[in-house]
């Protein structure tokens, strides 16, 4: 009961701090004589949603597709590669150092190359999002699958348990908290990746829209675009958190 009270108090506090930020923003713009092209007030920002020529929903849908698509490919690839590594030691020995090196490449720097290879559009931006968020998922999954208590393995060995049993009963569920900690980092990176892709070359999407309205110093629309990008990112992060809450017991959660 007290934990329920605790939770509702925390939710209220969180809502209050968000509203306070809005209020500070509003007061700052209204009473600070800030020009509209430097910083629009919250109400002016929201008004752009109902102005005709921005194609908000199309652009938001394109950006969301890039983010969610790139993220989904990264999740499948990252987890499958990590599984392959735990099943084949030689493969891991050959590939892990290589992947750690590749991880050092600033993925943003690959953007122009990806656009050369795949032209511009949704797919290359998805690939940029993928390239930036696959590594945290892969590395945390590999780490999680490795974290098995040697004594627990002994226990299974005395019962002549199979490798498959070790994997399904101990390794994989044990790795879940690690996978989720990688997924949370990756969710944030996927958003950045898709937007960078749109900046580098695209004809749709919220990042593209920002570059368009920047030319006319339509700062209110830029603000709105940033807010929508943030909301898409929050939707992804929230989905990951909800899934974690459903699958991982509180005590086992990492990060």
């Amino acid at each position: 009961m007290s934990s329920l009270d605790d939770r509702s108090t925390r939710t209220l506090t969180a809502v209050a701090s968000h509203l306070a930020l809005l209020l500070v923003w509003y007061l700052f713009v209204k009473f600070g004589n800030v020009p509209k092209f430097v910083m629009p007030a919250p109400d002016e920002t929201v008004k752009t949603l109902f102005a005709g020529n921005y194609n908000w929903w199309t652009n938001a849908a394109v950006t969301a597709t890039e983010i969610f698509g790139g993220y989904a490919i990264a999740l499948v690839t990252g987890v499958l590669l990590a599984l392959a590594f735990t099943w084949s030691k030689p493969l891991e020995a050959a590939m892990m150092p290589l992947l750690v090196s590749l991880n050092m490449i600033p993925k943003v720097a690959l953007g122009p190359l990806i656009i050369v290879w795949f032209k511009y559009g949704v797919v290359p931006n998805m690939l940029i999002a993928f390239s930036i968020c696959v590594f945290p998922i892969l590395l945390t999954t590999v780490r999680g699958l490795r974290e098995v208590e040697p004594d627990l393995l002994d226990l299974v060995r005395t019962l002549r348990g199979s490798r498959w049993q070790v994997f399904t009963k101990i390794q994989l569920p044990g790795a879940l908290p690690y996978i989720f900690s990688g997924m949370k980092v990756a969710a944030i990176l996927a958003v950045a990746g898709a937007i960078v892709g749109e900046f580098l070359g695209s004809d749709k999407g919220l990042g593209y829209l920002m570059l368009q309205v920047q030319v006319t110093l339509d700062t209110a629309a830029m603000f709105m675009a940033v807010i929508l990008i943030t909301l898409i990112g929050m939707a992804l992060y929230g989905a990951v958190l909800a899934l974690e809450r459903a699958l991982v017991v509180p005590d086992a959660r990492v990060g």
Binding site: D151, D154, L155, T158, K169, P173, G174, L176, V248, V249
Partner: protein, 255 residues
């Protein structure tokens, strides 16, 4: 009429490594354990007592000597007659206590319904009735260790190997667990090999104590503890208790 021993060790030796880096982990371990005994292996770190437990569990091969478990009257199947308890409870965080206890039964593919009933009965035996649906993090260290004892018994093994199971508990909980273990041992009727470096713990629990010394690792003595059962904490003030503990201190060169 002398019954046949359940465990028979003769001149067992084990060396790790080769040549100049060879390290003798055990030499000349010779002792017998009768069915239903609670034998304590006591000695300092590095005396080979844990190695011996691993040899008995079939996890490590031995280099020389004879290891024989089981007899004509008490047959022994190494793939399902070993239960193990470690210093850490090693419960799976994502499983309920009941499902944790069931792990060995699942690995052996034992009938689910009977196993569940047995697991419930064992949880009652170790004093955890009502905790079946709890998660490990909801239990104290001592209670988690009780659950791991129930897990070691769920497949009805003939031999239970315990490697310093109470070593990580505070002194009071440890005393309590010693009494509990004696009760569980009486009721379950298993042969138990209990590794410890607690000298009074070994004398208090054991029907037999096997003493090991380190540097070089060797077996120093093996004798029966002829103290009455059921044992209570009063026993520790008994003169005979002091005689036994003094004998072990002397063997370990601490007197």
């Amino acid at each position: 009429m002398a019954a046949e021993p359940f465990i028979h060790l003769a001149s067992v030796a084990k060396t790790y490594g080769k040549g100049a880096r060879a390290h003798q982990a055990i030499s000349d371990a010779t002792f017998d354990v009768m069915p239903g005994e609670l034998a304590c292996l006591v000695g300092p770190s590095g005396c080979g007592k844990s190695t011996l437990l691993k040899i008995l569990a079939g996890l490590h091969p031995h280099d020389a000597g004879t290891v024989k478990i089981g007899s004509a009257s008490v047959p022994f199947d190494p793939s399902r007659d070993i239960g193990m308890v470690f210093q850490a409870p090693l419960l799976l965080k994502w499983r309920t206590i009941l499902d944790n206890v069931l792990l060995p039964a699942e690995i052996l593919g034992l009938p689910a319904k009977e196993s569940r009933e047995r697991a419930r009965a064992l949880l009652a035996l170790v004093g955890l009735a009502g905790a079946e649906e709890k998660r490990p993090y909801e239990l104290s260290g001592g209670m988690q260790q009780r659950a791991s004892i129930a897990r070691a018994l769920v497949h009805d093994p003939k031999l239970v190997l315990m490697d310093e199971p109470f070593g990580a508990l505070d002194a009071l909980t440890r005393e309590k667990m010693n009494l509990e273990l004696l009760r569980i041992w009486k009721e379950a009727g298993k042969t138990i090999l209990f590794v410890t470096h607690g000298i009074s713990e070994a004398v208090f629990l054991g029907t037999r104590v096997v003493v090991f010394t380190a540097g070089p690792a060797r077996m120093a003595d093996d004798f029966a503890i002829e103290l009455p059962h059921p044992r209570t904490l009063d026993l520790k003030t008994h003169e005979a208790f002091g005689v036994y503990t003094r004998r072990i201190y002397k063997l370990l060169g601490m007197e």
